[in-house]
Amino acid sequence: MSEALLKIDALTTGYDSTMVSKSVSLEVYPSELICILGPNGAGKSTLLKTIAKLLEPLSGDIHFCGKHIDLLDTKSLSQYLSIVLTDRITLEYMTVWEFVSLGRFPYTNFMGTLSQKDKDIVDQVIDQLAITHLQSRDLSALSDGQRQRVMIARALAQNTGLVILDEPTAFLDLPSKVELMALLSDLCSTKTSSFLVSTHDLDLALSQADRIWLIDSAGDLHDGAPEDLVLDGIFNTVFDSQQTYFDQDKAIFVNSKNDFASIQVKDSGLSRQWLIKALHRIGYKATDKDDTKACIEKIDSQWHLKIDGQALQFEKIYDLCKYLKLR
C-alpha cells in the first residue's frame, strides 16, 4: 500500500479549550473521495480547518506524506494541501484564468512569473473542469455553480495530494450539486489526489463518496464506506429524531409516523408504487390483504375507493389523497 497522504493521530480539535471532535485517528490514501457528514455544529469545518493548519489542534498529531505538520512551514504545506473554503471572494477585475493561475503561487518566483509548465497546468485544469468557455470572463460575473468550479480549479492548479473542500455544495441548486459531486468523483479516479469534502447532502455523499467520516454530536467520528455505515446502523444513531428516521433499505430519511391506518391496494407496477408513496405521506399503510372496509383499485385509469361502505371514483392521486385527508 502506498504511503498515506494524510495521517491523523489521536487528534482532538476545538476552539481555545472547547473541544469539538475528539481523539480521531485516520489515514488518507491517494484517489479517495471522502465526505464528512454530521449535524450542524458537530465539528466538520473545525476538523478541516485544523488539518489545513488554519486552527491549532488541542492535542494529537497530523502528518502529510510522513512529515509532521509542525515541521512544515506554510510554504511547504502549500505543496501538500490546497483548500476551497466557504469564504466568499469578492474580487473585481480578475479573469478566471488569472484566478486559477494563482494556484501556481507556491511554485513561482518572487515576480510571480508563470513558466510554460505553469501555464500548461492552468490550461489543463481549466480544460478538466470544463470551464474553458469562462476563462477570460471576470470572476464577479459567474454563477454560483461556475464560481465553485473555478474555486476547485484554483485548488487543483496548486497540484497537491490532498484537496480540502468545505461545503462546496452549499448554495448550489440540485442539478449543480449532483454535477459537482460527480465531478469530484471523476477527478478522484483520474488523479492521484484525494478530496476531503464536508457536506450536508447526505444522499449525494452516499452515492458518490468512497468513504464517509460521520461526526456525531458527541464529537465521535465514524469512518467507513457509505455502505459500511448504513449496515452498522450508524446513520440511525446519529440522525434519528422523533420526526425522522433513516430508512436502511432505501438509504433515505423518512417521516416517522406510527399511527398508520391500513388500506388495501389492488394495483400493480409503477402506478402502485407511486400510490403507496402518496398514501404513506398522508398516513396510510398499503397492504395486499383483502380488506372490505378500505380498498383502492385502479379501473380504466380511474381510482376506485371503497371506504366505510362508500364507493368513490377519482381521476388523480391528488384528489384521492385530498379526500382521504379531509375524511
Binding site: 489545513a52 493548519k53 488554519l54 512551514d73 506554510t74 510554504k75 511547504s76 504545506l77 502549500s78 505543496q79 494541501l81 490546497s82 483548500i83 473554503l85 469564504d87 471572494i89 469578492t90 474580487l91 473585481e92 477585475y93 480578475m94 479573469t95 488569472e98 494563482l102 494556484g103 503561487f105 507556491p106 513561482t108 518572487f110 515576480m111 510571480g112 477570460s136 464577479s140 460575473a141 496548486q158
Partner: protein, 336 residues
C-alpha cells in the same frame, strides 16, 4: 489579454503634461517655451523665472509627486490587506497621531506662551513624533492580533482620541493658535525645505520600491487570509510588512505635508478602473503615476493660477477626488 503598455504611456503623458503645467502656472505664469528652455539649460535669462522655478515650483512639484505616489500606494496596500475598497492610508490612525502631536504642541505653546513651539520645524517634529508613536502602536498590535479588523478598530479609536484632544485645544486656544492648527491641517506641498528633502524622499523611494517587491504577496492577500496562507504566505510576517510600508509612507507624507485626504483612497480605484486588473504588478506602478498626477492636479487648482490666492490643498483633493471616485464607481456599475 490586452497589453498594458499603451495605457501606461497614456498615463505618463497626462502626468508629464500636468508636471509642466504646474511649474508654468502660479501667481506668476510663464510661457511653456520659457519654462522648457529654463529646465533644459538649467538656467534662464529671466532671473525671477529661474528663482521661482528652481527654488520654489520644481521642489514643490516633486514633493507633490512623491506625496501623491506615497498616499496612493499606502491606500492600495490598505485596501488589499483589509479587502475593503473604502480603506485608505489613514485607516490605521497615522494622520490622527500627527494631528494629536501638532495639537499638543500648539496647546503647550498657548499655555506657556512659547511661540517657538509654533515654528515650522517644531510642528514638523510634533507631527512626525505623533505619527511615529501611532506607527509603533500599530506595529505592536499587528504582530499580536489574529484578526485584521481589530487593526481597523484600533485606527478608529486613535482617531477619536486625537479628535478629543483637538477639541480641548480649540476650547483653550486663541484665534491665532487655532489658525496655526488649521493651516497645518489644510495640507501643503510647499512646506518642505531643501535641508529636509532627503529625509522625505529617500524613505519614500525605498518604501515604493518595497511595495513593488511584495506585489506577488499582495495578489495572494486579495483572496483573503485563509487562502493566502494556504498558498504558502506567512500571514503574520506579510501583514507586518504591509502595515510597516503603508504606515511609513502615510506617516512621512503627513509629517511633511499635513494630512492630505482622498488621494490615497481614490488613486487605487482609478488604477483598477483604467487597467481592468487586480494584479499588483500593474496596480502598484499605476497607483504611483495616478497618485502623483492627482496630487499635481490638486496643487495646480489650489494655487488658483493668475489670482494670487491659494486655496487649502485638502479641500481641493476632496473636491476633485470625490467626483472622480463617484464617476469611477458609477461607470463600473453600468459596465456590469
Amino acid at each position: 489579454m490586452k497589453s498594458k503598455t499603451p495605457r501606461f504611456l497614456f498615463l505618463l503623458c497626462i502626468f508629464l503634461g500636468l508636471f509642466v503645467l504646474n511649474i508654468s502656472l502660479g501667481s506668476v505664469s510663464f510661457s511653456f517655451s520659457d519654462t522648457f528652455s529654463a529646465i533644459i539649460h538649467q538656467q534662464s535669462d529671466d532671473k525671477t523665472l529661474e528663482l521661482i522655478l528652481f527654488s520654489f515650483r520644481i521642489p514643490k512639484t516633486f514633493t507633490a509627486i512623491l506625496a501623491g505616489a506615497s498616499l496612493a500606494v499606502a491606500g492600495l496596500l490598505m485596501q488589499s490587506l483589509f479587502q475593503n475598497p473604502l480603506a485608505g492610508p489613514f485607516v490605521l490612525g497615522i494622520s490622527s497621531g500627527a494631528s494629536l502631536g501638532v495639537s499638543i504642541c500648539i496647546l503647550l505653546s498657548s499655555l506657556y506662551g512659547l511661540t517657538a513651539f509654533r515654528s515650522k520645524p517644531t510642528l514638523l517634529l510634533a507631527s512626525s513624533l505623533g505619527s511615529f508613536l501611532v506607527f509603533l502602536a500599530i506595529l505592536a498590535c499587528a504582530n499580536r492580533i489574529k484578526n485584521n479588523t481589530t487593526l481597523l478598530i484600533l485606527g478608529l479609536m486613535f482617531g477619536y482620541i486625537s479628535g478629543g484632544f483637538v477639541s480641548v485645544l480649540f476650547y483653550f486656544s486663541q484665534t491665532e493658535e487655532l489658525n496655526t492648527f488649521m493651516q497645518w491641517s489644510y495640507g501643503s506641498f510647499s512646506r518642505l525645505t531643501p535641508e529636509y528633502y532627503h529625509l522625505f524622499a529617500i524613505p519614500i523611494l525605498l518604501c515604493l520600491f518595497a511595495s513593488l517587491l511584495i506585489s506577488k504577496y499582495l495578489n495572494a492577500f486579495l483572496l483573503g487570509e485563509n487562502y493566502a496562507r494556504s498558498l504558502g504566505v506567512s500571514i503574520k510576517k506579510f501583514r507586518l510588512i504591509i502595515v510597516f510600508i503603508s504606515a511609513s509612507l502615510a506617516g512621512i507624507v503627513t509629517s511633511f505635508c499635513g494630512p492630505i485626504s482622498f488621494i490615497g483612497v481614490s488613486a487605487p480605484h482609478i488604477a483598477r478602473y483604467v487597467f481592468h486588473t487586480s494584479n499588483h504588478f500593474v496596480l502598484v506602478p499605476a497607483s504611483i503615476i495616478i497618485g502623483a498626477s492627482v496630487a499635481i492636479l490638486a496643487d495646480i487648482i489650489s494655487g488658483m493660477p493668475g489670482t494670487g490666492y491659494t486655496l487649502p490643498l485638502n479641500s481641493i483633493t476632496s473636491i476633485i477626488g470625490a467626483p472622480i471616485l463617484i464617476w469611477v464607481i458609477l461607470s463600473k456599475k453600468k459596465a456590469l
